[in-house]
């Protein structure tokens, strides 16, 4: 008994983590290998099929969505803070790539291990890895700037303020064409092209999609690693404690503001890195892509997959991102050609997500693949609940004070 009680965590979670990690790695490598070695020599029908259903651009996008959903999961799933403006961090990261990897600022000519297009040396051209780091740091700082005044708010108000920030930042980008005569964001035209990724002497442009996919998959993998490790440590415990009972957490010596800010900063970093990655995937930054709907999609990924559980969020992000960028179009085409109608299925995506979320809330609130502990609370009526047998008379005073 003594040995087992000293283990870091219940053995089954370690095991299932290993299984899932191997599964993720296998799928990623399989996609890479198929596209790198098989598709180029495959018959035309196979090529068309893969292009239509599992295009590499959509696969890369899925990886980036996994990265960002896991970032939001730290804020929403771990620390229990509702953030409705996550797109702000995605936008900020995207613009860091736009500023530091393109000809946007053509009054300067800076090249630091960058990859300017042939014959166009103007602008700032930094190395992709450096931009990833800078994008992450930049958004982390913004996470703290946005978080510091808002995280003192109670949950509903916090959600509203984050909603506001999610609107403000993209709007600044839309209107940032002429800030006192300085063209910061190139307005609605966006910044393009963003430089091709160049790593270790190899260039990864629009035709090296398989390699680019692998880069994005590594970023997603890194975030999975971060998420799992953080949850098991000092910070992760403090986040969960805040999610469970903020007041009790502070009474146990957990500094609420600092711990919440840490979750915000880590979440924002993932959003920023995702933004940089996405800019290199599509080769540009476009202000109108950073709309409120993105915040909701990413939040849906977290909720749908199973709040707090890394693997659940991964499944949720994969499913939703794929349905959004490929599934709806393809199934729509099939249905249209079978019925002879001409319905624009992708335009129904929010109807479908909305219905899906409502159904989830009605029948499976804990998500597809919930964290064990979340499954517990969602089905609490099935467990004998001893904690209810308490005396709540003087608790009223405590709550009263919280709102003051």
């Amino acid at each position: 008994m003594a040995e087992t009680t000293k283990a870091a965590a219940p053995a089954h979670t370690e095991n299932s983590n290993k299984k899932w990690a191997i599964g993720f790695l296998t799928v990623v490598l399989a996609i890479y290998a198929i596209n790198k070695f098989y598709i180029p020599t495959a018959p035309a029908q196979v090529k068309t099929f893969f292009n239509a259903w599992f295009s590499l651009t959509s696969m890369g996008e899925i990886m980036i969505y996994i990265l960002m959903a896991l970032g939001l999961n730290i804020v929403v799933g771990y620390a229990g803070l509702l953030d409705l403006g996550y797109v702000a961090f995605w936008a900020l990261g995207g613009y860091v790539a736009g500023w530091l990897m393109s000809g946007q600022f053509d009054q300067w000519q800076i090249n630091f291990f960058g990859n300017p297009p042939a014959g166009l040396p103007n602008g700032i051209h930094l190395n992709f890895l450096l931009v990833l780091v800078l994008g992450g740091v930049f958004t982390a700082i913004w996470g703290v700037i946005i978080g510091a005044p808002t995280l003192r708010l109670k949950s509903d108000y916090l959600a509203l303020v984050t909603l506001g920030f999610g609107e403000i930042i993209p709007q600044i980008m839309v209107n940032g064409e002429d800030i006192g005569g300085f063209n910061l964001t190139n307005g609605t035209k966006g910044i393009n092209p963003v430089d091709n990724i160049k790593l270790f002497g190899h260039e990864f442009g629009p035709f090296q999609l398989a390699d680019k996919f692998l880069i994005y998959a590594s970023l997603a993998g890194l975030m999975i690693f971060f998420s799992l490790r953080l949850r098991d440590g000092r910070l992760g415990r403090a986040w969960l404690a805040i999610r469970e009972d903020e007041l009790a957490a502070s009474m146990m010596g957990v500094p609420l503001m600092r711990t919440k800010l840490a979750s915000y900063a880590v979440g924002a970093t993932a959003g920023g890195v995702g933004g940089v990655a996405f800019a290199t995937l599509i080769g540009g930054v476009y202000a109108e892509r950073f709309n409120f709907q993105v915040s909701i999609i990413i939040l849906s990924m977290v909720v749908l997959g199973g709040m707090g559980n890394v693997w659940g969020v991964l499944v949720g992000a994969t499913l939703l991102a794929w349905v959004n960028n490929t599934g709806l179009v393809q199934f729509g085409n099939i249905i249209n050609s079978a019925t002879g109608k001409n319905i624009d299925f992708p335009s129904f995506n929010f109807l479908i997500f909305g219905v899906l979320l409502i159904l989830m809330m009605l029948y499976r609130r804990e998500g597809f693949l919930p964290e064990a502990r979340v499954r517990l609370i969602m089905h609490e009526e099935e467990f004998s609940d001893v904690a209810v047998v308490t005396d709540d008379i003087e608790v009223e005073g405590v709550h009263h004070h919280e709102h003051n």
Binding site: T5, L235, R237, D245, L247, M252, G253, L256, T390, V395
Partner: protein
């Protein structure tokens, strides 16, 4: 006697006013180092409010709280608790969906150092820190007698075990003083009797001073060295158990005026 020791906690002239309601009225109160003291009073007397002032949850309208020589009035709750003033809750407030071990380890947060990087890359220091924390958590779980529940979710524990886990969690702060808010609520007489012994062990084996809010008079009388009685926000009596037992104002507060006459007639 221990009552002559320096006070580890010293609350001076505390008043708390909610709107027009005076919940606590000019109460002074000390916990001598190494002592076991109790705060009693009828429902609504302001005991929990007073508790919440001590732990920083409420700002007193007037008055000061000194802990270990420092004025902690108005200090943030997490600073007061990590400074060594730990508490449990009248209505159990565990982190239900965390394991018993995790619950205890949360309270070690302020004493641990690992940040994002150290945790992610499991540096040697972080690993040692985690291992020590787990060991200490196990020690505390063993101490309160639930050493086999390490990996069980707190909400799945029995009511009594949840109460014990709350104490273990409070002890993880390495406190000088532990405030127990109605710890025997819901216990049967046998459990309450065992609890008296447990509170004494808290002092002898963990070296903490204990402040109890308690309704169970047999527990209070057995375990306390000093008892303070609150009624309607005011301190109406203070003294040893035998003094309190025979104090007419206390009897009046609990039984009403006629009750106090009746009890005198019986005597």
């Amino acid at each position: 006697m221990s009552t002559t020791n320096n006070p580890v906690l010293d609350a001076q002239n505390i008043s708390v006013v909610f709107g027009g309601l005076v919940a606590v009225n000019d109460v002074s109160f000390t916990i001598p180092e190494g002592s076991i003291v109790s705060l009693i009073g009828p429902n609504g007397a302001g005991k929990t409010t007073f508790f919440n002032v001590l732990t920083g949850l409420y700002q007193p309208t007037s008055g000061d709280v000194f802990f270990d020589g420092d004025n902690i009035t108005g200090r943030a709750p997490h600073k007061i608790s990590s400074g060594g003033l730990a508490r449990t809750f009248q209505n159990i407030r565990l982190f239900g969906m965390m394991t018993a071990q995790e619950n205890v380890m949360v309270a070690m947060h302020s004493k641990m150092k690992a940040g994002v990087w150290a945790t992610t890359f499991r540096t040697k220091k972080q690993k040692r820190e985690e291992a020590e924390a787990r060991e200490f958590a196990q020690e505390l779980l063993d101490f309160v007698g639930i050493g086999k529940t390490t990996h069980e979710y707190a909400r799945n524990l029995s009511y009594g075990d949840q109460r014990r886990l709350e104490v273990a969690r409070a002890l993880a702060l390495r406190p000088k003083v532990v405030l127990l808010d109605e710890p025997t609520a819901g216990m049967n007489p046998n459990e309450s009797a065992a609890f008296v012994e447990f509170v004494r062990r808290l002092r002898t084996e963990r070296g903490v001073s204990v402040l109890l809010i308690e309704h169970d008079m047999s527990v209070v009388m057995q375990v306390s060295e000093r008892i303070t009685v609150l009624d309607q926000g005011q301190k109406i009596a203070e003294g040893s158990p035998s003094e309190i037992k025979n104090n007419p104002r206390v009897i009046e507060a609990y039984l009403g005026k006629s009750g106090s006459e009746a009890s005198q007639n019986v005597n």
